[in-house]
């Protein structure tokens, strides 16, 4: 029933937008007789500009997001900021889910009013599931570097950072990855997830590999390093979370620098170390679901994320927004937040999709054995 009401509302919005557009004499690409269909709009111009998009999104009144933990890259503030600005309710499902969970939800719930509207996913999953996305280009499209977006707008990277070792500096000092092999680190070192399952953990093992003579094409040295850590009793196989860091169970954690930096709230002596000989970067990507039940709100959400305000909110969370270079040039980057980012020396490297697959395949058959007791 709600679905039906929704559909009428959408038809109404579409008709109204069509009327506006024809009145302006603009030539839009959408050739359907019913006018602009929010579900196929590829830019705000299709709605007759931002005000048209905002009106259409307000009519829908809600947005379904998935797998956005409030303490991840400042998403708590980003979600409440969106609701405050546009008066649109955000339904946040399964905040601790993985990228694959997001895609599974689109597949299993597609067509219902509970299905996710927008996705924030790792690149491996994004590239494997582009058929589930619909193209859209935000107003600030040119601010996203060419190598970090799909030319058609099926996906676009949003924020990223570098793989780091976060640690409680009141207990340890870390100046290299090999320091972790010292006896002082007994039962202290953890990953953010299982690397055969979680992207962040896979990158953690890859970073250890780079620091131990491996390369982006070979994660084996990283697996050997963790095997060694495990034999020494320095590795703890539990997942590092805000809770385990807070109570001191995982005082040393491999994680993205922007996630690790958030632990400073609970552990004031928390420090984030990016090894200069292993600067491994990683970006997540945004995409709009083809079956989004709230297509206009989904597009407005993307506009919000890629606006100066949205980009600076990610920066506040310690993540490096994808338009960072463009904002720096324009002078709109928040300098206080930028200065708080952990220092990074050395040349950043990024895993290509095929290198990520090679690493995952190696982990699949070797990880369990390497850290088995």
């Amino acid at each position: 029933m709600a679905k039906q009401v929704n559909r009428f509302a959408r038809a109404g919005v579409a008709l109204a937008t069509f009327a506006v557009i024809t009145a302006c004499g603009s030539t839009t690409t959408t050739g359907t007789s019913s006018g602009v269909n929010a579900a196929t709009a590829t830019s705000a111009a299709a709605f007759g500009g931002m005000s048209g998009l905002i009106a259409a999104a307000r009519k829908e009144g809600q947005l379904n997001v998935i797998a956005l933990p409030p303490d991840w890259a400042n998403y708590g503030a980003i979600i409440s900021g969106f609701t405050a600005k546009y008066g649109i309710k955000v339904n946040s499902a399964n905040p601790n889910g993985s990228s694959q969970d997001e895609v599974n939800a689109v597949r299993s719930q597609g067509g219902t009013s509970r299905a996710p509207d927008v996705l924030d996913i790792g690149m491996a999953v994004a590239l494997a599931n582009t058929t589930l996305f619909t193209p859209y280009q935000v107003t600030e499209w040119s601010g996203i570097p060419t190598s970090q977006k799909d030319p058609g707008g099926l996906w676009y990277q949003d924020y990223g950072g570098y793989m780091s070792i976060g640690y409680d500096s009141s207990k340890f000092t870390i100046t290299s990855v090999q320091d972790l092999l010292k006896p002082a680190f007994k039962g202290a070192v953890a990953l953010n997830g299982d690397p055969t399952k979680a992207n962040a953990a896979l990158n953690g093992v890859m970073m250890a590999s780079l620091a131990n003579g491996g390369s982006l094409d070979s994660i084996a040295q990283g697996v050997a390093f963790f095997h060694h850590l495990n034999q020494l009793g320095n590795f703890v196989p539990i997942q590092a979370t805000t809770a385990t860091v807070k109570n001191g169970t995982t005082p040393v954690v491999f994680d993205w620098d922007y996630l690790s930096a958030a632990h400073g709230k609970d552990v004031p002596t928390w420090k984030v170390f990016v090894p200069p000989n292993a600067v491994l970067g990683g970006y997540y990507a945004q995409a709009i679901s083809k079956t989004a039940p709230d297509p206009a709100a989904a597009r407005l959400w993307e506009e919000y994320l890629y606006s100066v305000a949205g980009q600076n909110l990610w920066l506040q969370g310690g993540a490096r927004p994808v338009e960072m270079a463009a904002l720096t040039t324009a002078g709109t980057l928040n300098q206080t937040y930028a200065a708080a980012l952990p220092p990074v020396g050395g040349t950043p490297v990024f895993l290509s999709p095929s290198q990520a697959t090679t690493a995952a395949t190696y982990l699949d058959s070797n990880w369990a054995q390497a850290i088995g007791s």
Partner: protein, 298 residues
């Protein structure tokens, strides 16, 4: 419902005026619908998924089960379930006996049974974190013992290994055993023990020839329940041992939701199918034992 069924079961009798004649099987329809929707259908989906490949039927997922790390996870799962079931059953039975031999409506019995009711469901992330906070590397008991010169983790943090899981699982296995075993103990009458004494029997005779054989079928049934209970448990282990998919439910989770390109829903199905097979084997073993131990009861 009973009257309806019994009236329908009389073929010669005339139908009640104003009432529809309802076939006798109608009463069990809800049960069969339930079983079909929640047992048969999911099992069929699992079996279908296990034998489905990218291009039609395939045995790839079944042969993938023989990979060393998956075989290890099955071994771990069986060891974990068997060990925690045996410990839980023995300790729980002793505790239940202590409770049953007290006053039937006494305070102790009421307190213990309600506490067990709560604790038997106290699994998952909360239980795992309770152990992490008390016995983990930075747990307060660990630290207190260290201050007094005892390092329980001198040889590594065993809490995050299989032995740790066994300990944590017994925490909900023992209370469950108390709850499910108490009714059987209540069926044992004190008069039987008195009768044994009157006939010159010792305590050993009583347990060996009377209470033991009477309780054995129930004990084995509870043991099976405990085995299945820990065999299928997921959340506690997931929160405690995040790495390497040490037991089968964790491997299934990895196969379903890996975001690094290793998600294989069909492998998850074949893992689940193998778990079903193991439980079927254990259940068959149980019913064979049951038929032997309970033969004289009939």
């Amino acid at each position: 419902m009973t009257t309806l069924v019994s009236s329908a079961a009389e073929p010669a009798g005339p139908p009640f005026r104003g009432r529809l004649r309802v076939p006798s099987w109608v009463g069990v329809v809800p049960f069969f619908v339930y079983v079909a929707a929640f047992l048969i259908l999911p099992t069929a989906i699992v079996v279908g998924g296990a034998f489905a490949g990218a291009h039609g039927p395939s045995l790839t997922n079944i042969s993938a089960l023989t990979q060393p790390y998956i075989l290890d996870s099955f071994l771990h799962s069986v060891v974990l379930s068997a060990a925690s079931a045996v410990i839980g059953a023995v300790v729980g039975a002793v505790l239940a006996y202590a409770v049953a031999s007290g006053a039937p409506n006494g305070v102790i019995r009421r307190v213990v049974t309600s506490a067990c009711g709560v604790l038997s469901q106290f699994g998952g992330v909360t239980l795992a974190f309770a152990f992490i906070a008390t016995l983990g590397g930075a747990g307060f008991i660990t630290l207190w013992l260290q201050e007094h010169g005892v390092n329980i983790y001198a040889n590594g943090v065993w809490l995050y290994q299989l032995s740790g899981l066994i300990l944590v699982y017994t925490y909900f296995q023992i209370p469950l055993m108390v709850i499910v075993f108490l009714p059987a103990l209540d069926g044992i009458r004190p008069q039987w023990r008195e009768a044994t004494s009157n006939l010159g029997g010792t305590s050993w005779h009583y347990w060996r020839h009377i209470a033991g054989p009477l309780l054995l079928p129930a004990f084995l049934g509870c043991l099976l329940l405990l085995f299945a209970n820990s065999f299928s448990a997921y959340a506690t282990a997931a929160a405690l041992i995040n790495q390497g998919g040490i037991i089968v439910p964790l491997q299934i989770s990895n196969a379903l939701s890996s975001e690094v390109g290793l998600a294989q829903a069909n492998l998850a199905s074949s893992l689940a199918l193998a778990m079903v097979v193991i439980v079927v084997v254990v259940t068959a073993l149980y019913s064979w034992l049951q038929s032997r131990t309970a033969r004289w009861v009939r």
